[in-house]
Amino acid sequence: MIRVELPAHLRKLAKVDGEVELEVAEPVTLGTVLDALEARYPVLRGTIRDHGTLRRRAFLRYFACEQDLSLEAPDTPLPEAVVRGEEPFMVIGAIAGG
């Protein structure tokens, strides 16, 4: 089971509390996890990745196991700890303020 942590606004859109848990077939990559997330919660399509191009939206970042995966290719395997469900895959919004 893959654990995914979403920003508060996306949790609200998806009507979920806390982490999302997803069944993702091997190989578990950035792309397959996001595909599974959007398949389970279609309302999230376009909010993390652009429609069509599937490019990451500029103010969001992907993290797992203290690594910034934002610039990795979609077929990049996620860390083993994420695959085993020990660590979450995190979608994080840039901090606003000042």
């Binding site: 920003p7 376009g46 429609h51 069509g52 939206r57």
Partner: protein, 371 residues
């Protein structure tokens, strides 16, 4: 008893204000979509319980929300706005060409006849249409692909289709306004579009006959006289009496003719309202006095309306989509400010009162008159 429902879009959510026909006591619900920018909400004239809302965020992009119970509950509908075919380029701030990039929906205009049909005005400038209640959107690409497109340019606030007016006597005719390209009109339901800016003058455009490039802030019409349009431009208030074929200036005795919104009285097609703003570099009222100006002669002769509005130390702005009228017998006028107040007048502008005063900055105000 009839009543009104005021739909308020703000920088941090949407609010729905309701009252009976006396318009004295108001119930406020919200924030809906808390934390998101709500550029615009608008109800269907056919089914007042059907309301569309544009919800956007720099982080998460564009959502469209739909209510089928008058704004009590909402469901997200389609949010895929894809430009048709080649994206093309427009003029950038430095004069170079820049590709069209979808940013957000500024304005939603439900059809006058079918609650499932709704138009959306986009930044970067384009118009989309949904015929299934907002689930799917298709660009009417004849507008963006007009020959003049490479000469359109963004204003400081972006390059957006911010106004969509449907001619109630001819559904094939739609007017849009774009900052900073100008007014365009279609007579074939959105397939082809023509610039309609003859007679407009802008001192920053040396060519007095420029086909496009005018920074039109807002246009409005009265449904009984769709050939007559009123315009608040970057500077100047203008009117047309021939379906936007030609325009003439009607700023008259306004203390400043810079501003954003303009609207028409529900029952008097020659009575119009603007909110004069000091200048394009000082976006607030002159001398800290918030004043609506009314003309009962379709322009040129204007009177200040101040009763109930702050007349000292007021430095708010009123944005282009933040004024609306109701259709009750004694016409109500409403506008929202960047300071979070929504002011209402139940007597055509003679007296004003804030019906809510501490919201986030108001981006848009629409009013539904309920049976």
């Amino acid at each position: 008893m009839s009543g009104v429902r005021v739909l308020v879009g703000t920088k941090k959510g949407a609010f729905v204000l309701t009252s009976d026909e006396r318009r004295q006591d108001w119930e406020v619900s919200g924030p809906h979509f808390a934390g998101w920018e709500i550029y615009h909400l608008k109800g269907s004239p056919v089914d007042p319980n059907r309301i569309y809302a544009s919800q956007s965020s720099g982080w998460f992009g564009q959502m469209i929300q739909r209510s089928d119970d008058g704004g009590k509950t909402w469901e997200p509908v389609g949010n895929e706005f894809a430009y048709e075919g080649s994206t093309g380029t427009h003029q950038w701030y430095d004069g170079t060409q820049h590709p069209w990039e979808f940013k957000r929906i500024w304005h939603l205009e439900p059809s006058l006849h079918d609650p499932d049909v709704v138009y959306a005005g986009a930044e970067d400038a384009a118009i989309f249409r949904s015929i299934d209640g907002g689930k799917n959107w298709k660009e009417l690409s004849g507008l963006r692909n007009h020959d003049s497109g490479p000469r359109w340019q963004p204003g400081a606030g972006g390059m957006a289709v911010h106004t969509i007016l449907i001619d109630p006597t001819n559904l094939q005719r739609i007017f849009v306004a774009i900052s900073a390209a100008g007014v365009f009109r279609t007579d074939d339901g959105g397939e082809t579009w023509r610039p309609m800016n003859r007679g407009l003058t802008s001192k920053y455009i040396p060519d007095p006959d420029a086909e496009v490039g005018h920074c039109v802030h807002r246009i409005a019409l009265h449904p009984s006289r769709p050939e007559t349009l009123f315009m608040q431009m970057h500077w100047h208030v203008n009117r047309s009496d021939d379906g936007a074929e030609t325009w003439r200036k009607v700023s008259g005795n306004l203390p400043t003719d810079f501003g954003f919104p303009i609207d028409v009285h529900a029952h008097e097609p020659e009575t119009i309202y603007v909110v004069p703003i000091k200048s394009d570099s000082e976006h607030f009222p002159i001398d800290g006095k918030l004043q609506v100006y009314r003309s009962r002669t379709g322009g040129n002769e204007w009177e200040a309306l101040t009763n109930g509005l702050p007349q000292s130390d007021c430095y708010v702005n009123v944005l282009r989509d933040a004024m609306a009228v109701d259709r009750l017998e004694s016409c109500g006028i409403y506008f929202g400010t960047t300071g979070g107040q929504v002011y209402a007048s139940a007597d055509s502008g003679d007296t004003w009162t804030p019906i809510v005063r501490d919201l986030p900055a108001v981006l848009s105000v629409e009013v539904q008159t309920l049976p």
